[in-house]
Symmetry: D2
Subunit: 366 residues, 4 copies
Amino acid sequence: MNAKSEIKRIGILTGGGDCPGLNAVIRAVVKTAIFRYGLEVIGFHDGYLGMIEDKARALEAADVSGILDRGGTILGTSNRDNPFRFPAMVRGRKIFRDVSDQAIRNLRRRKIDVLIVVGGDGSLSIAQQLFQKGVPVVGIPKTIDNDLSATDVTFGFDTALEAAMEGIDRIHTTAESHHRVMVVEVMGRYAGWIALEAGLAGGGDVILIPEIPYDIEKVCEKVKERNRHGKRFSIVVVAEGARPKKGEVVVQRMVEDSTDPVRLGGIGFKVSSEIEKRTGLETRVTVLGHLQRGGSPSAFDRILATRFGTRAVELAMEEKFGRMVCLRGRHIRDVDLKKAVTKLRRVSPNGNLVQTARSIGITFGD
Amino acid sequence: MNAKSEIKRIGILTGGGDCPGLNAVIRAVVKTAIFRYGLEVIGFHDGYLGMIEDKARALEAADVSGILDRGGTILGTSNRDNPFRFPAMVRGRKIFRDVSDQAIRNLRRRKIDVLIVVGGDGSLSIAQQLFQKGVPVVGIPKTIDNDLSATDVTFGFDTALEAAMEGIDRIHTTAESHHRVMVVEVMGRYAGWIALEAGLAGGGDVILIPEIPYDIEKVCEKVKERNRHGKRFSIVVVAEGARPKKGEVVVQRMVEDSTDPVRLGGIGFKVSSEIEKRTGLETRVTVLGHLQRGGSPSAFDRILATRFGTRAVELAMEEKFGRMVCLRGRHIRDVDLKKAVTKLRRVSPNGNLVQTARSIGITFGD
Amino acid sequence: MNAKSEIKRIGILTGGGDCPGLNAVIRAVVKTAIFRYGLEVIGFHDGYLGMIEDKARALEAADVSGILDRGGTILGTSNRDNPFRFPAMVRGRKIFRDVSDQAIRNLRRRKIDVLIVVGGDGSLSIAQQLFQKGVPVVGIPKTIDNDLSATDVTFGFDTALEAAMEGIDRIHTTAESHHRVMVVEVMGRYAGWIALEAGLAGGGDVILIPEIPYDIEKVCEKVKERNRHGKRFSIVVVAEGARPKKGEVVVQRMVEDSTDPVRLGGIGFKVSSEIEKRTGLETRVTVLGHLQRGGSPSAFDRILATRFGTRAVELAMEEKFGRMVCLRGRHIRDVDLKKAVTKLRRVSPNGNLVQTARSIGITFGD
Amino acid sequence: MNAKSEIKRIGILTGGGDCPGLNAVIRAVVKTAIFRYGLEVIGFHDGYLGMIEDKARALEAADVSGILDRGGTILGTSNRDNPFRFPAMVRGRKIFRDVSDQAIRNLRRRKIDVLIVVGGDGSLSIAQQLFQKGVPVVGIPKTIDNDLSATDVTFGFDTALEAAMEGIDRIHTTAESHHRVMVVEVMGRYAGWIALEAGLAGGGDVILIPEIPYDIEKVCEKVKERNRHGKRFSIVVVAEGARPKKGEVVVQRMVEDSTDPVRLGGIGFKVSSEIEKRTGLETRVTVLGHLQRGGSPSAFDRILATRFGTRAVELAMEEKFGRMVCLRGRHIRDVDLKKAVTKLRRVSPNGNLVQTARSIGITFGD
């Protein structure tokens, strides 16, 4: 089918935080490579770490059987795997070294013709750096927060959204039975997509997102207004990156990197205790946290991940290196890897989603 | 906010088969109408039947509280509600009469300035006819099969797809444990979207859709080939409108209209018994049927339905009558109601989704 | 811990229809055998077939990692595996032979000291026959219909019940929106437990079970009475083994053995078409079928299966052969294998569950 | 049917924390009272508060239609409703008064012949006090933690367990992909049932419960031992009431009463930070919190709640006042209300469940 291609063997790794759909990508890459092009596939363990330490294994069709509906990644991932800034302990001191040449040597020794990198902005930036050093690379975007501007949407977001909505659905009955204000903190450090969409889907009354700084007085007003109209409960959906218009900014949890668990749920607790103090109404917090990352991927995510995986192998065969697959409307496209990781996709305060929310009476606290 | 508008009261009805997200539409229409524009809303019962027989009620904000996560429609629907061809029994014989003037009179007597119709091609065609008779109408598309060309996607499809995928997921373990061929019949009389996407998402091995007539020999070849490679089970996903390339066409179940339940699951049983006969392998059928229509809508469907509902009220206020809301890429748009219902959106046999499926080894029996 | 025991190696097989929780049993047997007693475990493939044909593999702790939440059985199962009546084709004719000596020889050659059989009445009867021929056997009951009198409940039932209830929940919204009678056929050939409990849990209006023959007139009366009281929909839950008081008995589907798929859903269709004919109300059927067997086991089933698996290994170590584990109230007990398979546990027409159903207005058609 | 009974009207209230199944109880009480006995039913709002302030409404069959699958309670509940110790502000100071006579007067003026109280130990103790003052009372136990000794199990627990297990299932994939220790804090202040059973069902490696004080060294040993055997992740399930053998006891969150949200998740964070410090392995915490109380009740809980509701009305008709319904094995029984609330049902450290957990390699840190 592609007789002239020089591509015989592709490598694949999954970097950054785990995300529902990674296994569907791996499966699609392996099946397309083997069934359609007769290639070999090598999977590196734990992101770039496997490339640096040369830990990898051949992936056959049997290895990806039964993983489509599984969360996580069978290849593993790691938060400490940057080959251009790899941590090492030298005489009791932590230093960072560039071990990219070693990583590239491992790639060549394994006769890998193209490397497919599935990752977020961090992992894709490294992919771009490797590409500049001559490594044939194809990228697949992964960001559960959906904050990459180069693609309309990535896999993982829909599953996370569904999990967040189910969480809010569950909390609704307690709110209503106990006449309470329930604060639900969801993911979204820089972009409020999950809070906005889960708030819309779960029937939230207040939604606080990083893109629209809030005034706690406005939030409390809404809660009190509902109370006056006989609605004795309210649901407040808070993105972990939400911040007040003025006053002290809460030090946020760093979802993937923090080692100080005390900070978990910072903003949710802050908002909750202020509402309780100012309104006198019973208030409770739930931090959805890792529940949003796990579980079986939704149909949408499994399909998108499969399309991305298949298209990435096609790009490899077409020798379109330094490119990243993406979704535009309903179409799979590809963009320059360099451009892909430069801009954050954030909620527009004047966009249709926010306007829709306002139209049905949701407050953003602004 | 819209001081000059003459619109004071809007009517709403839901027609055709039920669909997850209808309640989210109703809720968004009522909340937007009341909170944003200060309008009154009248809901007709059981589609156009309520308009013909003048059965309706005022909808307040309290009436739409707690319905966002509920399937079905609080307004009810009916399959026999065409005012231009309304059945009546006259001297023991069924005749059809045009009662549209009566329906329009009811609308006027209730001082309804705009009628919002949520429905599929049948209900929207009637809406277009009413518009031609001078009724100010705004349409919202509803088709669980996703086969309306005027919109990229409608609410209900995502939930149905998820239900179909979950059904296939469940059946997988039995297939694998018993080394069986499992045939799963899903919705899709004219378009194979649910079969195609649920097949992709659920890990189907064979997908049969109306757009690609199948050869049963090719289907059996795939099943036997898998067996030779040690895969002793296969999942065959069949759209109810799938048909063989040649030979007798199975009389299909008419999902919403049939009164002869014996026909249910026609094509699934036909495919199953032929596979069993030709391969000698144990084969079982599951017809998902109504399980795909019910249940709580997915986050995607709740959000899309909410956006459609809010936008429909905006169109009403802008006096853009004879229009239908739709989704283009990620944007809410509107199209001429006349054009909206003329063309079926079907799976392209050469499109990216089918190609992706073929790339990972799925067979369409062609 | 058990220094004197002669038991060094145990075998395990899973027979009969698949059932959520089988993998949890296998996992518990393997982990208890290895971690607590330092034994070896051999798993036979496809029920007794693996013993007859000597197809088996050693099971290590790693082999049972990650299977707790998976439906089905990693060992496979088979419907044609009776060593005392094993089918063979001799000169084009199917004959049955006793190959039990061959099966026992395989067991001995593999130095298996005890055989743990997980199965329903068929597989356990065979286990009892093997025990009489001198094979040290321990049984674990498996019946998704919950119709074994020797145990209060077995694993699989709770998951099937949950699936049946979710199916009814989904169908409710369509019933209500369309003002229809929805007939839902669930498992239960000889005992109506799933129909009764899913009907109670799902809000059914009529429940038809094998233990209480129904009069279709009484069923229709109920439906019409609801209609008169403004309840324009009804949910009728039918066990596949339900039968009318008089008149022609429908030939039932043989769930696990039938090769004639046309019979699937016999009674559901019969009941549905009679209701439609007699009441004139729109009626639809859904046959839940295999959806009830698959999917991830519920917490209850995972725990019960784990307790059964662990206790079976203890019985093996205590050399209590010819016994079967069971649940009595909240306690794990064991009974004589001989007694275990003789009596069917059926719904008592005067028991508390049926009385509770009647108290809240549910009709059994009697 | 019960011609001689003097009972004409029954009252019902739901007290304490909300719990899946409360609506199923209310529905069963109303339906049994109306359909079987022709009684009237009055529902008090917000627990005893409605009785004190005389806020109540008649409950008809239509009022309980469609609530079977809903979490929470349509009657509402309150944490501040003890008529024997009712808080009031007098000259800026909070005092407690006995307003039980007023509450009883309201009951009599409404001609309520029996009061059905659905509640935990707090609400049932009040019911017992009212009974001693001459109020005809029947109790229905409600405790999501399953820690009431007078009944084998109550509704709500199975749903909470399922939610906790699903949470652990979701977290598994992240644990495995990232090679992390994941700590999951679940409900259970005085009894470890949810932690124990969810740990068994979710495949936990360490389970910490109030009944078995833990040694953090033992916990870390287990985690490190798994690591040595190539299992680079561990799941630690912690009941909120777990406590170390020695050293400072963490001040626990008071689930329903705390107004200091900072304490939420105390023990989970403590355990997590100590594991990270001592093992050097990445550790994360998830506090399931209110997610365990909400959502649609499981089939088991809907059925048990329905049986309790129906039986409570029977007890009322039999004039067996001062009694509480309960479950013994598979049978509905009743016990003296006085005895019902005196003893806590806790996990036995030597019981079968704990032994089963140990047999498959789970550690309790003791």
